[in-house]
Symmetry: C2
Subunit: 506 residues, 2 copies
């Protein structure tokens, strides 16, 4: 009997320790600091794997790394097959949990234009500090073992977008486990490997796997903090659709001496067409483009609470004036955009040739808000093009069409994903605010909708869950461009943010 009692006592006391440990609030700052260097190692390991989603062969070692790193931490992982590259799903069920939170990250990155990077290899993470002459100067990674400055940065493709946040999450998870803690909710993770090419198979896959993905809310860890670099939550994201327009000139490029003044120049024609779409202050003048968006005074007041310093933004961007779609930065992103992301005709620079080019191409992206259905916008833009005298094709013209129609254009349009917007006072909004209060001792900046796009609308639609974006990285991270980077201070506070969320009772 005594033996039994002792055993019971030992058992109860073991439970007590665990409960006590769990009850005790973690010192988020101290725990984060203690795990920072391990976090840097996680980041380095992950960004060292090339991840251009235009090249699926590059994605294979990425998904393998993620599987190994989740399996090794005791998660159940599963590849979800899609029409393209698989999604990776992982889950961690917690006994007695009442709620489930689904985290989203993407592991792929934009292509790299190596000659424009100021380091030998965009996939070789490089620690840099800003030197006295304002240049980023490389340092050996080992200096971090002695001390570091939060202003230093690690440069590598996807350091911010979006491998950095996933590395923060893994680091926070390890820190939590090491301190004997677990979330009081079930955790699911979905990793996307095709975000930078518009997640073409995500919408159908979310529907296909909606039982597996089912959750009470979804947190997207992707994107930068507010420009002030203060802790930020973002409650929505613009959607994105794209159109490639190709205006046709002569069938083959022609000598500009022989046919300049005679063969219509497709670059001029494209310029004239594009110019007709916007006024001198960047507002789209295609009728109906902004229909349905009417910011009320109450909404404008919410937007005004975001502490934007527009003079700073302009200085940072190096611009003397802004487009006038909205009265402020926050207002501007409540509207759909019509952006030329790329344009090409003939050759420029060292390769220039004295020709009338054969064609001219504009790559357009249209960012969407909940009020702007992309098919409606496409129809408006298409009608505008037709009203300018163009015969619109979905392929290159035939010889007969070339001679028949004075103005020919090819239209290739597609919708990647719609916009979403979650109310500030939704369940995730209120819960995350508590986690941020614990981590930072103050309310986060709350963004009504962020300008960038996330493939979240399919989740919102299929799973019927509210979604909030937990943004952590520095806004000047050069994401999508050369010299992408993450600021060490943001990386560390990102670990702390993830740790606060994982340990916040739901």
């Amino acid at each position: 009997m005594k033996k039994i009692l002792t055993l019971v006592f030992v058992y109860v006391s073991a439970i007590s320790v665990t409960l006590a440990q769990q009850k005790k609030q973690l010192d988020l700052d101290a725990v984060t600091e203690a795990h920072f260097l391990k976090g840097i190692q996680n980041l380095q390991d992950l960004v060292s794997i090339p991840n251009d989603s235009n090249d699926p062969s590059q994605l294979v070692p990425n998904i393998t790394w993620c599987e190994e790193n989740l399996d090794g931490r005791g998660w159940n992982t599963k590849r979800l097959e899609t029409g393209g590259f698989p999604l990776l799903f992982a889950e961690k069920m917690v006994p007695k949990a009442k709620k489930t939170v689904l985290f989203y990250f993407h592991i792929d990155g934009q292509p790299v234009d190596r000659k424009r990077w100021e380091q030998a290899d965009p996939y070789q993470p490089t620690l840099k500090k800003l030197n006295d002459s304002g240049k980023w100067e490389a340092m050996p990674m080992e200096v971090l073992e002695n001390s570091y400055d939060p202003e230093w940065r690690i440069f590598a493709r996807s350091s911010s977008d979006d491998k950095g946040p996933f590395a923060m999450f893994l680091t926070a998870w390890d820190a939590m486990v090491e301190h004997g803690k677990m979330p009081n909710y079930n955790v699911k993770i979905i990793l996307d490997f095709e975000e930078e090419i518009g997640s073409p198979y995500l919408p159908e896959s979310v529907v296909k796997y909606k039982d597996i993905l089912a959750a009470d809310m979804m947190l997207i860890m992707d994107g930068p903090r507010h420009l002030s670099n203060e802790p930020t939550l973002s409650f929505g994201a613009r959607g994105i659709s794209q159109i490639t327009l190709t205006v046709f000139g002569p069938r083959a490029a022609q000598h500009s001496g022989h046919y300049g003044n005679y063969a219509p120049n497709p670059a001029f024609r494209l310029s004239q067409l594009l110019a007709s779409m916007k006024d001198d202050e960047g507002r789209v003048i295609i009728p109906g483009f902004y229909d349905g968006i009417q910011l009320t005074d109450a909404e404008k007041a919410i937007l005004d609470r975001v502490p934007d310093n527009e003079a700073d933004i302009k200085r940072k961007l190096g611009i003397g004036a802004t487009d006038k779609v909205g009265g402020t930065y926050q207002e501007s992103i409540q509207y759909p955009s019509l952006n030329i992301r790329g344009m090409a005709s003939g050759w420029v620079g060292d390769e220039v040739r004295t020709i009338v080019p054969a064609d001219a191409t504009a790559e357009i992206d249209i960012r969407l808000v909940p009020e702007s259905d992309p098919e409606r916008l496409f129809a408006l833009v298409r009608k505008h093009i037709e009203d300018h005298g163009y015969h619109v094709l979905d392929r290159d013209p035939t010889d007969a069409e070339r001679v028949k129609y004075p103005k020919l254009i090819k239209w290739e349009g597609s919708v990647s994903y719609q916009a979403f917007r979650t109310p500030f006072d939704s369940e995730p909004g209120l819960w995350l605010e508590k986690a941020y209060m614990r981590a930072f001792g103050k309310e986060p900046i709350k963004i009504r909708i962020s300008g960038g796009s996330l493939p979240i609308a399919p989740f919102v639609d299929a799973l019927q869950v509210p979604a909030v974006t937990v943004v952590t990285v520095n806004s000047d991270n050069n994401q999508h461009g050369p010299n992408e980077n993450i600021r060490l201070g943001n990386y560390k506070e990102g670990i702390k943010t993830a740790l606060a969320i994982l340990t916040q009772e739901l």
Copy 2:
């Protein structure tokens, strides 16, 4: 005495044979036919040497080849040093000659975009015939030894522009010499190795070497025949100048989600600026651009004598309508042009990135006529840009300038060469007509000014000589673009043209 008489007889008789030989008219067709295959070999040898004038190291084997081939034929050659790659000068003095004719050729070529050529190597001349399905089909060069079709073509960079004509000239020279003939005038040759990069040092070099180059007239063997492919002479050429315009957006490319609708898009701005320069029918609407050009009825009648078939031209170019600068093709090239030869911003196609680009560039070429001084046109275009609110720089902006000026543009302008125009009834005009009558039994088509540019105005100005362009190649030779070629029939008639000119008494 008898011995002496015999010697005298032998001597006189030797002279008589030579004189008889010289008096006897050559059968131009038969002689050309007999030398055709040697001519093809000359062409192959020359176009096999890569000759992109952006890479001077490629030019060295070209100038060496030309020296060896002229020295070997008994010409005196001399490199004329310039600020860039040397010119090659050659001369052949003829005893008792009263006149001197200077021939101009260029040996360099445009760059090649290998992936757009339908053959492994643009510097590996490839014989092709049009097959039944309308595709150019390669054949071994050896088939020419049995028979050939004038419609077959040899594809290679510079096959038409302008190594082909120099190979014709060398072939005609050899044919003439083999038949014991010589011109009755002194012949000088100047070879340019920087024509495709605008012959930047030619104007100053012609002044520097004007005593060496002195001549009574200048013949430029470069450029295509009239579209009808009938024998053609061209009495002038438009000049050429160029402007590179760079419109600045944000200092670095920005994520189009975060800054679309806010950071002004340089591609849109460039489009708007370019669009403002022309009307919908391709006419420049910058005031004053066409000043000084008033075609009289007499001039229009001369232009109308050129047998253009505009429906054919449009079909050939694959265009449904033409720009309306002139009422006809010939009229259109009596005016300066404003052509966008290249345009670029951000990335397109597989490399597309969802950004607001940092800048947008337009490469413009302005073709000149004698009435349009390029500096005057530059001033008009520049004022037009300033009137659209741009602050114009000749370099990239500083950070302070970026914030100060809402619209910033970089202007890089240069004049390659002016236009020239020689009267039809000038000495070379009348003399060449006789040579063409001998060769073809009919008057050539006479072009008042050709659309393309030749670096001839510096010669006309410095040497005070009339200049005429002897054009021989097929107009659909794809010069400057991929798949440049020469039609065998044109190559052969080009040899005959050169032979007729070399043997035409002056």
